[in-house]
């Protein structure tokens, strides 16, 4: 079941996001907290944002672009972006 299924509570969506981000970027899920900096916590360089777009499409079945990340600083910002894209 995709995490974008409307029957899935958004808290569970966030847990799912923490799961796939920690697995892909090989970080402790404990660092993926709303107040933490997304780029620093995941040690992202410019190429990694492309893979973030791929991960979001694969796991949430929603399309985002590099432009969508322009104002994203924290995981909280990122969760809000997903929420908006999911129409929640």
């Amino acid at each position: 079941m995709y995490l974008n299924d409307e029957k899935v509570a958004f808290d569970e969506v966030i847990e799912g996001i923490r799961g796939f981000l920690s697995e892909e970027f090989e970080v402790d899920p404990a660092v993926i907290l709303a107040e933490n900096n997304l780029k620093d916590s995941l040690d992202l360089d410019s190429l990694d944002y492309v893979d973030l777009v791929v991960l979001i499409e694969e796991n949430l079945n929603i399309k985002v672009t590099g432009e969508d990340f322009k104002d994203i600083v924290t995981f909280g910002d990122f969760f809000d972006l997903v929420k908006k894209k999911l129409g929640r």
């Binding site: 970027f25 090989e26 990694d48 492309v50 893979d51 777009v53 791929v54 499409e57 672009t65």
Partner: protein, 405 residues
């Protein structure tokens, strides 16, 4: 004045084993690495025979970012290079602070290109290919990955010369060092093993179809051969100037004394005796050795009638009927882009352990192979000086001569 060039480290990741020790034992035992791959048959291959290597687990050694741009050629090359660097007593800290080059042979990245484009067909969006594909897809994939992982500061380019890529890469490294342009160059060859890489070659009908006997199918120089068998992996050969190797106290495994090359200038796939002889003579002249001083020839012979016969004739013309000859492709299959480098590694292992590895499955000679001294069973023998041939599509020929330092 040209500088002496020595070999200070070798590494291997092949169907005979994934390290030097395993491979030395397999060579001595005359073990075949050829298997039947059902996946190829299902895909539409005429022959499902291939050499096979396991997928290396790079996670213990490399970060995610470092691994993202790697597909089979770079993955195999990393494993072989890691082993070679350890033997040469080199680490990243040292490489970062000195000028070390890399010239690696590779001539395809088929599977990664297919995978990337399949993704676009499925998704209709190139962004969804992901960030690593471009670095996997380019033919210089081994160079761009290893040079950044190892923080190399010297010469950096890939060498594509079909089935002589690995050999020419060592020859080119040799020229760089002998001319005083580099102190140290990481050379080698990588060859992907997947159904995407070899389907067009299979389509030419040049692969053996002796599928009921995989380990007996590769039979270079044998009268009853019916074609070659593709294979792959990677091999690394670290070259250094003699002075630099001595200064570092590095092990000296052998000295590269001759590099001969030529182009046939004729047919795109058929070999040519004159072209091979010119490469052999050029290497001999450069090395300053006579035919009698060559203790062993590691032949290119791939198990095709035309190729094996022309090489047998070229060897007979230059060396006569005495010098021991074997083709390790009888065990490995044809490691293509990697072969010229892996066969230097195989032969150095023979030199270190005083034996000539057998040309397995050589049971009956044909008219040409009967004229030369093909070793069909492991032979205990000292090797002070050997020669290794590599020939490729497009008529590219390369011959390397190595002696004990």
């Amino acid at each position: 004045m040209s500088k002496r060039v020595v070999i200070t480290g070798i590494g291997i990741y092949s169907c005979l084993g994934t390290n030097l020790d395993e491979v030395a034992k397999a060579l001595y035992a005359g073990k075949s690495g050829i298997v039947f791959d059902q996946q190829r048959k299902d895909f539409g291959y005429r022959s499902a025979l291939t050499g096979m290597v396991p997928k290396p687990d790079l996670k213990p050694y490399l970060s995610r970012r470092q691994r993202m741009g790697m597909h089979e050629p770079a993955e195999y090359a990393y494993m072989a290079t890691k082993e070679a660097l350890e033997q040469a007593q080199l680490d990243v800290d040292f490489l970062e602070q000195t000028e070390t080059g890399i010239i690696f042979g590779n001539d395809s990245t088929a599977a990664s290109v297919v995978e990337a484009n399949d993704k676009v067909r499925e998704k209709g969006d190139t962004t969804l290919i992901g960030s690593g594909a471009i670095f996997q897809n380019m033919n210089s994939t081994v160079n761009m990955n290893l040079s950044t992982i190892l923080k190399l500061k010297g010469i950096n380019f890939s060498l594509s010369a079909a089935c002589a890529s690995g050999s020419h890469s060592i020859g080119m490294g040799y020229l760089m060092i002998s001319q005083g342009l580099q102190d140290r160059v990481i050379c080698g060859g990588a060859q992907e093993i997947n159904k995407e890489a070899m389907s067009s070659f299979d389509g030419l009908g040049t692969f053996s179809v002796r599928e009921s006997e995989p380990t007996r199918a590769s039979r270079p120089f044998d009268r009853d051969r019916d074609g070659l068998i593709p294979s792959g992996g990677a091999a690394t050969v670290i070259l250094e100037s003699y002075e630099e190797a001595k200064r570092r106290g590095a092990p000296i495994l052998g000295e590269l004394i001759g590099y001969g090359f030529s182009s046939n200038g004729e047919h795109i796939s058929n070999p040519n005796i004159d072209g091979q002889v010119r490469a052999l003579r050029m290497a001999m002249k450069q090395a300053g050795v006579t035919a009698q001083q060559i203790d062993y020839i590691n032949a290119h012979a791939t198990s095709t009638a035309v190729g094996d016969s022309s090489e047998a004739q070229a060897i007979f013309e230059v060396y006569g009927d005495q010098v021991p000859v074997s083709s390790t492709k009888s065990m490995t299959g044809h490691e293509c882009w990697m072969a010229g480098a892996s066969e230097i590694v195989y032969t150095l292992l023979m030199m270190q352990n005083d034996f000539v590895a057998p040309n397995i499955n050589f049971e009956n000679p044909d008219e040409d192979s009967a004229k030369i001294n093909i070793i069909s069973r492991t032979q205990e023998q000292k090797i002070d000086c050997f020669l290794s041939n590599s020939f490729g599509f497009g008529g590219t020929n390369s011959t390397l001569i190595v002696k004990k330092a």
